[in-house]
């Protein structure tokens, strides 16, 4: 009998774990000027704004750091640490006038030296590589007086200003990766690995102060528990729920709709033998139907894309590339047969398990590839492993992920695919592409630049560099206690604009 009762206890425990997930977390916080924001991943890579690579890290650090200019929600670059700036006639000299009285979070005043230090740090991190690729174009950074910084470029670059969003950090801080000090509306307090990141309003902020006193970014590594966490009150806001999750939440939550500004694709490792054949890559493109994927993942919301560019960048986006491949299973099978795989082949899709959208997409892709005889095995891995195995070590066959733009330029999206770019995690190598990109870099005329960028996009599409899917819709679930969420054309979460709703 004893054995049986222990069995029953086990069963009860099992059902309780399910039931109790919803009750975990700190309910009924009295100090309601604290907002808890769920994030899918921990800030594993670095708290150093210049060294962070993951979009998920940068979206959090946006609240702590600022550059000379700062993007706003409609895509303008507004003066931030610089109060004004001017560009010389030849477009090679940028003069920034610094705002007076800007303070760092440690209380010290920001000086022109800190700006010079930050920019030079990004030009060369000590090992000869530039942390911001565009800064290799900088000839010199000079400080003629205490409130002026002059940046001299080697070549004219019409997109240069967009890169001035790079965070300015104090020259005196030797350990920015553990003690982040910036000038943003929120001050970093603490971080518990795999648990949370805590921030507090910075009361000496130069601009309009944030309204909510405390922000806790809580890591929710298991995507299946998002609705539980929201409904149970453990988090007040989650910036990326799926439409099915949104439907689950009910009327305690506002669902804000925007786009994620990501290029979601099945990224192929070009070092994998089978993907070296363009016909195989094209066959995969012909096998899928982005509309069907959107139907499943987000009830048909989302925008189809055909290359590494999303529609928010209107100037560069080419809608016609969506039709380079329309689902055509016969054609896909023919291409596979031509490439020497008449019976298909099998490969692995590695997906970070904390992103429900990508996990769902991978499952639909696997089902679609089945129709042309290609077997895709899905391997779910944790975000840290994704970052180290896939992104850094490039030890994978394919992955579903969304790639963001770090600044408001086409370059931010397209430079990645040049042969020797450090962010080229798909190891794409194409001489034509490199040439087109170089032309775009050298072009001084705006329309000429756009023309070359579009050429780059077209090459990526025709060469089927990756299996492009969509720019995901962003559904932000916000507890009705809070309001004021704003979407940005870059991948950030701006908490400073949010406020508490009076009841």
């Amino acid at each position: 009998m004893k054995k049986k009762s222990s069995k029953i206890i086990l069963l009860m425990l099992l059902s309780m774990t399910i039931a109790l997930t919803g009750c975990s977390g700190d309910k009924a916080e009295e100090n309601s000027s604290t907002i808890t924001v769920g994030i899918p991943q921990d800030i594993e890579d670095s708290l150093d704004p210049h060294k962070a690579v993951a979009a998920g890290t940068k979206e959090v650090l946006f609240n702590v750091y600022e550059g000379l200019v700062k993007p706003d929600s409609v895509g303008n670059l507004n003066p931030a640490i610089a109060s004004e700036y001017s560009v010389s006639e030849d477009g090679k000299t940028y003069t920034f006038k610094l705002r007076e009285g800007v303070k760092f979070h440690d209380g010290t005043l920001l000086g022109a030296d800190d700006v010079k230090y930050s920019i030079e740090r990004c030009m060369d991190d000590g090992s000869g590589t530039a942390l911001v690729e565009a800064y290799t174009n900088i000839e010199s950074v000079t400080v003629p007086d205490k409130t002026t910084v002059v940046i001299q470029l080697k070549e004219e670059d019409t997109e240069f200003l967009a890169y001035m969003t790079t965070a300015i950090i104090p020259a005196s801080n030797k350990t920015p990766d553990t003690v982040p000090i910036g000038t943003g509306p929120y001050r970093y307090i603490s971080r518990s690995p795999q648990e949370n990141i805590v921030m507090e309003r910075f009361d000496e902020y130069w601009g309009e102060a944030a309204q909510i006193q405390n922000v806790v970014f809580k890591v929710i590594a298991n995507a299946d528990t998002i609705t539980m966490n929201l409904k149970g009150g453990a988090v007040d806001m989650y910036p990326r729920v799926t439409s099915a999750q949104a439907a689950e939440l009910g009327d305690e939550f506002t669902i804000e709709e925007g786009t994620m500004n990501l290029v979601q694709a099945l990224y192929l490792n070009h070092n994998t033998e089978v993907f070296q054949d363009v016909r195989v890559r094209q066959a995969l493109c012909y096998a899928i139907d982005p509309q069907e994927i959107m139907q499943f993942v987000s009830d048909g919301k989302g925008v189809e894309i055909g290359s590494s560019m999303f529609p928010t960048f209107e100037k560069y986006f080419m809608k016609e590339l969506n039709d380079v491949y329309n689902q055509d299973l016969e054609k896909a099978k023919e291409l596979l047969a031509e490439a020497g795989y008449p019976d298909g082949f099998s490969f692995t899709i590695t997906v970070p398990s904390n992103y429900q959208q990508h996990v769902d997409t991978a499952q639909i892709l696997a089902e679609e590839f089945k129709q042309i005889g290609v077997t895709a095995q899905i391997e779910l891995i944790e975000w840290d492993s994704w970052l180290s195995d896939v992104y850094t070590d490039r030890n994978y066959e394919s992955t579903v992920i969304g790639v963001d733009a770090t600044s408001l330029t086409a370059r931010a999206l397209l430079e990645r695919f040049t042969s020797d770019a450090s962010g080229n995690f798909v190891l794409y190598r194409n001489a034509d592409y490199d040439k087109a990109f170089e032309n775009a870099m050298n072009a001084t005329d705006e329309s000429e630049k756009i023309k070359y960028y579009k050429e780059c996009e077209t090459i990526l599409a025709n060469d089927a560099a990756n299996v492009y899917i969509q720019d995901l819709p962003q559904l932000v679930a916000v507890n009705k206690k809070f309001a004021g969420y704003e979407f940005y054309p870059v991948y950030v979460q701006d908490i400073s604009k949010m406020y508490l709703v009076e009841k």
């Binding site: 399910i18 299946d224 139907q295």
Partner: protein, 285 residues
């Protein structure tokens, strides 16, 4: 049929005696429930109402209907078909786990119990060390070494299950070691391994069968637990734990999803529990 019974009467072993006795209601319930489960899984291996991986946008999260007896999941996949396939996966993993566990457990337990002395000390202290870890935790460590996937889980859980079986076999062997028939066999000069596996093992069958069933239940729950945590069976493959994890997100709008899967899991575990309990109760008297 008649002949079959006749033959059965001639043989004389404990299992037949057990069967002839009046069976406890617990045993009968266990047999019925387990048969239903096995039938359900066997049918699932041959045919399911729908392809368990076929997606259908029109029946996304569809409710219970005659077309879909358990409804559909968020990809429009038929839950009943997936439960059938998932139960098969779960049972397959549990069976593999128990086989590995019992095979190594018997060898280790037999050597330790029969020879005693130094062999016993060394093997059992190692066994105690392994038992000191909760088996799920041990399996987690092993999975991080081997990687995920259904065969790796079998291996990881199998290894984690060895110590408990080894302990049971050892105690049974120590008990029998002192019995006259073993003493006599030794005097005649029967090889120790023959004594262990031909003489002693069949006589331990009764204890082993019920511990096997309990172990099987633990393995079912362990697989479900691991897959629930996302480190077991990988999508799009179905397993009961994996499906519970997926159902979690729809607990409020579609509680039926989680209930169907959880209910199946409970039914399986309960069935085998009754069976094991019934067998050991009947054996006692």
């Amino acid at each position: 049929m008649k002949q079959f019974f006749k033959q059965n009467h001639k043989t004389d072993n404990s299992i037949r005696q057990m069967l002839r006795k009046r069976k406890s209601p617990m045993l009968i319930t266990g047999i019925v429930m387990t048969s239903i489960v096995l039938l359900f899984v066997l049918i699932g291996l041959i045919v399911t109402p729908y392809d368990s991986e076929a997606m259908d946008a029109t029946s996304k999260l569809a409710g219970v209907s005659w077309k879909h007896l358990m409804g559909c999941d968020n990809f429009g996949r038929d839950i009943l078909s997936r439960v059938m396939k998932g139960s098969a996966t779960t049972l397959f993993i549990a069976m593999g786990t128990v086989l590995i566990g019992i095979a190594f457990g018997i060898v280790i337990g037999a050597i330790a119990g029969y020879f005693g002395g130094l062999a016993d000390e060394v093997l059992m202290r190692m066994n105690d060390a392994a038992l000191a870890f909760p088996s799920i935790l041990l399996a987690l460590v092993l999975i991080s070494l081997f990687g995920t996937g259904r065969y790796n889980i079998i291996l990881a859980l199998g290894i984690a299950f060895v110590p408990s079986f080894a302990r049971i076999v050892r105690s049974e062997f120590i008990k029998q070691r002192e019995m006259d028939y073993i003493r006599q066999a030794e005097l005649i000069g029967v090889h120790p391994f023959r004594i262990m596996f031909v003489h002693m093992l069949p006589n331990s069958a009764r204890v082993l069968v019920s511990s096997l069933l309990i172990g099987f239940n633990n393995a079912v729950l362990a697989e479900a637990g691991l897959s629930f945590l996302g480190i077991g069976v990988q999508p799009p493959d179905a397993s009961l734990g994996r499906m519970l994890s997926e159902a979690q997100a729809y607990l409020f709008s579609r509680p039926g999803y989680a209930l169907c899967v959880g209910g199946t899991l409970i039914f399986i575990v309960l069935g085998f529990s009754f069976l094991g309990e019934g067998i050991s109760e009947d054996a006692k008297g």
